[in-house]
Each structure stands twice: as structure tokens, then as C-alpha cells.
């Protein structure tokens, strides 16, 4: 208990969010226009479709200092580009298996379906993700890589 | 023998002893026991009108915290306790800031490990009405019973999720299995007046009186309840001197557990049914059976 309190004071997770412009970014905007509050730990990169997210970019974020990554797209069946989100899903599931091998906790990297009307859901996702990562502590991949001796 | 953790509550220790006894007897007859939880205390139903809603939850949280040590399901009989405990549990599972302060206030904090259920739910979901029907030794043929729900079992429906708040059926379904003839009457979900009977009976008595009238006019010969306070109000509203007491003959009020017990072939004394009540029950049965009744 006290320990987590300690963490909350010291550690603010850095989360990179890739949001598809049609559903999830619009959902985030709705959260904004509805003045819903959520922690400021996530910074958003707006892409046309979650299908644009190359796993390399996600690894890049983690390797260069992010504590977590969120990919958010339209619900299956609602993709503005028919099925870009399904390709994202395929990649993500395989990536998850590989991230397990790298020893990265699943809570750090999430794929969420958030529609344009789900502002509340977006806020909720950011809240829970921030909390979960905060309790996991920093990822610090740079130091992980530097452990030579 | 299968046993369920059981929270009696204050009333079932005093005026509603018969509710407690009959329920335990039924349980035994049905092959399970109600194991009383350690160190239970007042559920705080009386506090539910208090302004400071934090305090109303501190007590019940303590109960749930203690229950948690003994099991994951807590059975209640009194509709009041059921309402308070179930809603307290729901609130706890929300893990809200209020809940945190309650947990810090209480010496032992509750972690939401308990499901609060009513005895009715146990016999419906755990035992099963079919089993009950097969276990019936003395079908209560011709007994025209008006099931009375009141508020606390059903409302707020969003939280209680016990039955349809406007058209409940669980009691009727049980009574049917016992051989009774459940009577549908409009007032069965109306409020009996609750604690008003303590401070201002002149306000509560007409309320419960109306319920009795409604049951009467629909042909009920007996009222079955699941709440000591309801029972008290329904009875006292019929006593001479009660404000506009119903003109009709006295309508006995019993606990559904007592009818269940009778049907299961238990003796009246095991169910704390007094001779007066038994008389009324027999009377009601025979009248309808001999067709002396209209309907």
C-alpha cells in the first residue's frame, strides 16, 4: 500500500498512443468536448487507420523510453477502410507473443477498439492504463539494453 | 451437509424469532444448514435515513469484512438487512474513494469477496423449485395466499436485481409449488409504511391498511411476507384502534418460510406457528376446498 503511494508520487508513466482518425481520435475529441477528465500521461499520434501502425514503431517507442503504448482503432466491422483494424489485430496478437518473450508485461501494450461515440470509454482506457503501468513501474528499456557487464 | 453462511440480524433475534426458526427448520428439511456468521452486528438499516451516508456503510462493511473470513456467500432473511448488505457490497465493489475511506476507518477492510443473497434466492437457485415441489409432503391445497413484497426486496431495482420491481413473481412461483393458490393483487409491491410506524403510526397504518384491503378484495385469505417490519405493520394496521383499519375480518400474516415448512411436513411448533395462525390457515383451506367460497 504505502509502496504504491510512493510510486504514485515519484513515477509518471509515459504512454504513446496511436489513434485512428475516424473512430478513436474522434472518441478522444468527444471526451474532450464532454470535459471528461483523465491523466495527462498519454500523448497521441493521429493516424488515418490503426492499420498504419507498423510493429517496428511500437517497438521503437518502447525501446526509446515509453513505459507503454496504446493502439486504438474502430470496432471490428466498423473500420473506415473496411478491415485495416483486422490486420492490426493479426499483427498485434503475434506481437503480443513476441513481447512476452522480450519480457514486457501485457499491461504496457494495449489494443483497444474505441468508436467515435465512446469518449467515456477512451477516458476509462487512459485512466486504467496509466494506473496499471504506474503500479508496474518504469520500463526503462534503455538501461535494460545497456546491461553489458 | 451443505451449509450456507447466514446473517440473522437484530429483529430475527427478538420479535421475528419465528422467521429465523422456520427458515432454519426448512433448511434442515431441505438438507442444508444456515451457519450463523461470527461476530455479526446490526446491519445499520435504521441508519439508512441518516444524512451522513458514510456512517450508514461503515457498520455493514464491517459485517461483510468479517463474513469474508468465513465464506464467499452470505444468506439473509430480513428484507431490510438484505437490502442494506447487498447495496453495501455493490458500493464496495465500485472501489470508490468513499469506500477507501470506509476501509481506512474500519479496522478490518472489506475486499468485496462476498455475494449477498436472500434465502429465497438460495431455494430458487441453489435448491431449485423443482426439488422443493418434489419435497412437498403436505400440499397447501386451496390456500389463497397474497404474497407481499414491499419495497426492500425489489428496490432500487437497478441495484437489487432481485425481481421485476413492478411485476415480481418469485414468491408466487414458490407458493404455487407448495400447492397454494397465489392471489395477484395490485398493492403487493406498495410500501407498508416502514419505520413511520415508530414515530407516526397515523401515517403508516393507512398505508399498510390499504395493502390488506387490496389483498382482501382480491380474495386473499392469508398474507405471506419476507420482512419482519412489513409483517408488523400489516398486522398492527388491522388491530382495533388502528387508523382506518380495514372493516374485513382479520387477515393473518405469516412468513413464507412458515408456509414452506408446513408444506415440507414440519410441525407447527417447529415453525413457531401459534394455534391462532394454524386455525386461520385450516379455516381458509377448508372453506375454499368445500367450495363455500366464491371465486
Amino acid at each position: 500500500m504505502t509502496e504504491t503511494v510512493q510510486l504514485e508520487k515519484t513515477f509518471e508513466p509515459k504512454i504513446v498512443g496511436f489513434l485512428c482518425k475516424w473512430c478513436s481520435y474522434a472518441g478522444a475529441d468527444l471526451a474532450g468536448t464532454s470535459r471528461m477528465k483523465y491523466p495527462p500521461n498519454l500523448n497521441v499520434i493521429r493516424v488515418n487507420c490503426s492499420g498504419r501502425i507498423d510493429p517496428s514503431l511500437l517497438l521503437k517507442a518502447l525501446a526509446s523510453g515509453a513505459d507503454g503504448v496504446l493502439i486504438a482503432g474502430c470496432h471490428p466491422g466498423d473500420c473506415h477502410y473496411t478491415n485495416g483494424n483486422i490486420k492490426t489485430l493479426r499483427r498485434f496478437r503475434l506481437l503480443q507473443r513476441m513481447l512476452d518473450q522480450f519480457g514486457i508485461e501485457r499491461e504496457r501494450v494495449r489494443l483497444e477498439w474505441i468508436s467515435a461515440s465512446e469518449g467515456e470509454r477512451f477516458a476509462r482506457v487512459v485512466r486504467s492504463m496509466t494506473e496499471e503501468i504506474r503500479s508496474l513501474g518504469p520500463l526503462n528499456w534503455k538501461t535494460t539494453m545497456e546491461v553489458a557487464a | 451437509m451443505q451449509s450456507y453462511l447466514y446473517f440473522p440480524g437484530c429483529t430475527l433475534r427478538t420479535v421475528a424469532k419465528d422467521y429465523d426458526t422456520s427458515a432454519k427448520a426448512c433448511a434442515r428439511a431441505l438438507g442444508f444448514e444456515l451457519k450463523e456468521m461470527q461476530g455479526w452486528l446490526c446491519c445499520g438499516a435504521v441508519l439508512s435515513n441518516v444524512e451522513d451516508n458514510l456512517m450508514t456503510k461503515a457498520g455493514p462493511n464491517r459485517i461483510l469484512a468479517r463474513a469474508e473470513q468465513e465464506g464467499d456467500r452470505l444468506v439473509t432473511l430480513c428484507a431490510g438487512c438484505y437490502n442494506v448488505l447487498k447495496r453495501t457490497d455493490l458500493h464496495a465493489k465500485l472501489a470508490s474513494p468513499t469506500q477507501q475511506s470506509i476501509n481506512t476507518f474500519n479496522e478490518d477492510s472489506y475486499n468485496g469477496g462476498v455475494t449477498v443473497v436472500h434465502f429465497l434466492e438460495v431455494i430458487r437457485d441453489q435448491v431449485g423449485f423443482d426439488v422443493i415441489e418434489r419435497a412437498v409432503k403436505v400440499p397447501l391445497k386451496g390456500l389463497r395466499v397474497g404474497a407481499y413484497y414491499g419495497c426492500l426486496l425489489l428496490r432500487p431495482s437497478g441495484e437489487m436485481k432481485f425481481d421485476d420491481p413492478n411485476r415480481p413473481s418469485i414468491l408466487e412461483n414458490l407458493l404455487k409449488r407448495l400447492g397454494c393458490t397465489p392471489i395477484d393483487y395490485p398493492a403487493r409491491t406498495d410500501c407498508c409504511g416502514s419505520y413511520l410506524s415508530v414515530g407516526s403510526p397515523e401515517n403508516s397504518q393507512p398505508m399498510s391498511g390499504a395493502i390488506v384491503k387490496s389483498a382482501h378484495s382480491c380474495g386473499a385469505k392469508l398474507l405471506a411476507v419476507g420482512c419482519p417490519l412489513c409483517k408488523y405493520n400489516l398486522e398492527s394496521s388491522q388491530l382495533p384502534g388502528a387508523k382506518n383499519a380495514p372493516a374485513e375480518e382479520f387477515l393473518p400474516v405469516v412468513y413464507f418460510t412458515q408456509l414452506l415448512g408446513l408444506a415440507l411436513g414440519l410441525r407447527p411448533e417447529e415453525l413457531e406457528l401459534d394455534t391462532q395462525q394454524m386455525q386461520a390457515i385450516h379455516e381458509a383451506q377448508t372453506r375454499t376446498l368445500e367450495g363455500r367460497e366464491w371465486h
Binding site: 498504419r52 510493429p55 | 437497478g158 413492478n166 411485476r167 395490485p186
Partner: protein, 651 residues
Amino acid sequence: MKRVGVFVCHCGLNIARTVNVKEIIEKTSKRSDIVFAADHKYLCSEPGQALIKDSIRQHKLDAIVVAACSPAMHEATFKTIAQLSGLNRYNCEIANIREQSSWVHDDPDKATAKAQITVSQTIEKVKLNEPLQPITVPVTRKVLVIGGGIAGIRAALDVANAGYQVYLVEKSGSIGGRMAQLSETFPTLDCAICILGPLMVEVYRHPNIKLFRLSKIEEVRGYIGNFKVKVRQEPEYVDVAKCNACGECAKVCPSEIPNEFDFGLTWRKAIYTPFAQAVPPAYVLDAKNCLGLLPQACGECKKACDQLGTACINLDAWQQTHELEVGAIIVATGYELYDATKLTEYGYGTYPDVMTSIEFERMLSASGPTLGEIKRPSDGRVPREIVFIQCAGQREPETALPYCSKICCMYTARHAMMFHEKVPDGQTYVFYMDIRAGGKGYEEFVKRCQEERGLLYLRGRVAKVYEENGKLVVKGVDTISGKKVQINADLVVLAVGMIPSAGSKELASTLKASLDANGFFSEAHPKLRPLESPTAGIYLAGAGQSPKDIPETVAQASGAASKALDLLSSPTLEREPTVAQVLESCSGCGICIPGCPYDALSLNANTKLAEVSEALCEGCGTCVATCPSSSLSLRNLTDQQMLAMIEAIVA
């Protein structure tokens, strides 16, 4: 290196209240790669835009970042300003520090810090943007209208009258929709079908409108200006062209079922006409209730029809699929009513004399089940005491609908008035929460009903309704007198709410158009773009978008039509040039090809390397992520730009 300028908007206090704009300007101007940074109270205002324009000229900027509201809001505005100031519009980028920062965070320091990152990541992106020219593509100058209610009818007529081809798709056997079921309309008490009928006929006769009844949208491909639509039409057992609606077929039909048009208050045959004024004026064979088509069980209708020589019935008809090409789509799918049986406190479904307002509406209608007479369904007696319950299952977030359907106050007043006309000695009670009579002549109308007709309006809700010796006991409260009221009524009418019509969800995902939390089609912007779906080329009309009355519906329908016409007015359309491009390292492995939903990728016959058709590419970038050799790139969202932005965030 690019000369980049940054402009930060206060948005009045919307941004400035939580985000420290000055601090952002300070930090940003310190950057070696920033030539100029300035803030303004309202960048979107004329002086704000002037500031941007002048600064671009004065400081010879060749790229700008505008830190303001969501790009969904003003991206176009600022890109245009950039263009007018001599910049390529693709050298302007928006940093969203309002929806994504000032509005969602309380702590000014944290909000500012986050906004700062958003700004720098956008700077990193714009530095690597390349100037682009829009791609022009041809527009298919035809419109698809989905739904044949008053909204669809109005929209279809407007587009058709402007001289463009319209396809009108209706799922039932006739157009007309809900309005055709109404008796009168408020506040003028026009006979609904009398004003709707002529429009229905006009649609049917219009040379530019092709009507598909019994049809559904199966598939929609393509994009604004160039949609490819598949429409599935149920078997047309009755030849619309030949049928003269003589009704002989129905006479001999042995199968009788409740008539949905009258909500089961009357009966119809398995071959029937939806209602007297149905358009197209032809009978419909309802295969579900026909004694049997495969194998044929009865065939009486066909015999009768053939004997008359009309011979318009073909019992072996098959369903057909029509492939349409359109430039714009207007969604006018309308509404249904909330299932009143869910409102157990009112006993609908248990007591026959508790009915919904639309059922009552049918009863009022001269062509309705009782030919306009008001009778109790239970015993056919004329009710003396009638209770109307407004907001039935509405404005109840916990148990039923959270929203207000907007029209109930009005039609209930009308119903009460009509009842009073027909049963002058009757007594009317109306339970209401509050009267919402916003609209031309609406308030006056309600007042008139209340005062002249002596209707009893009780402000409060009904707790329960139950039957007691042949009467419906309505228990409620009058919050004005503060008294509990009990009314022994003969008839109870529930004003249940409007919900989106069945199939809206499937249609939405076929169209890739989003729905709101209540299942209505959501608009691109609640204030500024109420006629458009967020998906380009799809326009909204009527109660499918939100509950509304007839005048509003018609207005929105004409609005949606003019939006579509605006699109069709030019033979070509400019498309975003931010499409995929193939890099020289492509080896022609072909892995990207099957993934493209638009068939924009192919292997060149000679080089055997991948190539992108810019006219087809929608710029989703899925192929870029797929390409194993990093030989595909998305214009102005390249991997290099993504990396730069990531670095900016985690730095």
C-alpha cells in the same frame, strides 16, 4: 532546412484557462529550428488568421504549426489560410491542445507540459512534410437515398428535381413511413396522409427517381463521389408495373395475420396492400405468412389474378441484387417505438386497454381500425375517462431511455384534443414532467388544448397502473398540489419514446458511418455539420439521426439533399494526396497486394514491382505497415515522421 513558424491559440479561455500559452511560446521560440512563434486569443478569427498570414509573409515561413483545437474542427480553415499566404497547404499541421489537453486535464502544469510535447511532436512532423497537390477524381453524379419515409421522400424529390438520378431504397412494401400512419399533424391538424400522399405519388412518377421497395443495402464500397452499392431486393412476386391493385388476390387468400400497419388492431392477408394510399400502388406477397411457395401450397391468388387477365403474380420470383454506382448517400432510416412491454409499471401487454400513442394514432385515423372511432380494445366501449402518460420510459437513464423524444408533448396535446372532439363529455388527464413545446405555434397549440378543452394536466409521474373491477387504476402524483392522485380510467395511452429503426446498426457498419451512444446516426459536428455523417459523402436526414418532428425532418432532408447536390455540382472532386508511394527498394514480393481494400496496389507488368493507383488509394497506410522491405511509404506520414514524433514524445 525549413523555416517553421508556430501559432498557439488561447481559444478564449478554453485553452488558456489550463494551458499556459505564454510558456509554450517561450519554450518554442527557444528552439533552434523555430523561426517565429506567436499566440492569439482566437486564431480562427479574422484578426487571428491575419496574424498567421502576415507572419508567414514577413518571416518567409515555409511551414507552420497551429496549436489549437482538434483538426476535426479547423484543420481545413488553417490549411487554407496557409495556402492563401503562399504556402503549400500540406506544410500546415495542427497540434490539438484543446480536446487533447486543456479540456481533459485539471492540473495547469501537467496540461501545459503535455501540450508542449504535442506542439514539438507536430513541429517534428511538419519539418518532414513534403508539398503536395490534391488529386482530382471524377464524381458519379447520382444519389442513393436509404429509407422511404417523409425524410427520404423529400430528399429524393429535391435531388431529382435538380436533375440528378436518385435511387430510393425502402425496406417495406411501400414508401410513406411513419407519417403515413399518422392521422393528423400538430399544430395545424392537417390530415397527415392528405399532405404526404401527393409527394409519394410524385416520387413514383418522377423520371429521375428509381424506387426499390422490399430492399436492403447489402454492401457499400468506394468513397465519397464514387460509391459502389449492392442492393438486395426481396422477390417481387407481384409485378409492380402490371398490378392494378384490384385486390381480387387478397379476397381469395386463405392466410390471415395481424396487420403491422395498424399494430395488430386489424387483420390482413398474406397478399395485401400495406395501406390504401401505398406507393407503389401494387400488392405485396408476404412469403413468411403465405401457405407455401416452395413447394407451392395454395396459389389461389395467382389463379384469381390470371383469371382477371392481369396476370401480375409470379410465385417463382427470386430475390435480385442491384449494383448501383452513386456519388452521395442520404441516410433517412427513421425511427421505431420503444417496446412498452418493458415498462411493467404501466401494464402494457397485460391490460388490453393500455395502449401506445401510435396505436391510439391509428385509432384516431379515419382509415384506421375503428374508422376514427375511439373504442376500448377490450370491450369496444367508448372510453369516458382517458389518461395520457407522457415521457413513458423516457428521460430515465437507469431503467429505460435517457433522452427526450421531443415530439410527445405535442402529439399528446393533439391526441387529448382529438379525444375531446370525439368524446365531448369525456374527461382527459395528462401526466407530464414538463411541457416542451418549442416550435412555431407549438406553445400556443398546447395552451389552446389545455384552456379551451379543459384538459387536466397533472405535473408528475405515474407509479403504477392496474386493473380493478373493469377500470384501470392509475396511481400517480401531482407534484404541484403535492398530492397523490388515483384515477380510475377506461383507457391509458403511453407516450413511448423514439428509438432508431431496426437495422440501423448493421447499416452503420456497412456504410462505415458511426452511431451515437443511443444508436442514432452521429453527425460530423453537432453544431456546424448536423447534416453530414463523419464519413465523407454520407448525409443524414430525419429521425434516424435524432428524434425530431415533421417540419424539422423535412428541413433536414432538404438540407441533406442540398449537401449532396453541392458535391454533385462539379464533375470532379479533389482528394487528399496523402497516399501511399512505392520506393526504389521494392522487390515485387507482392505481400502488400491482397491487403488493399481498394485494389489500389498492383504489380507492374514490366518491372514486376508494386505500383499505387493514386486515384484509388485512400491513404489508410495499412500497406506501409505490411511491406516487409519498408519499400512503401505514406505521403506526409512516413516512417521517418512517425519516428521523429515518437522521439519527441518520449524524449
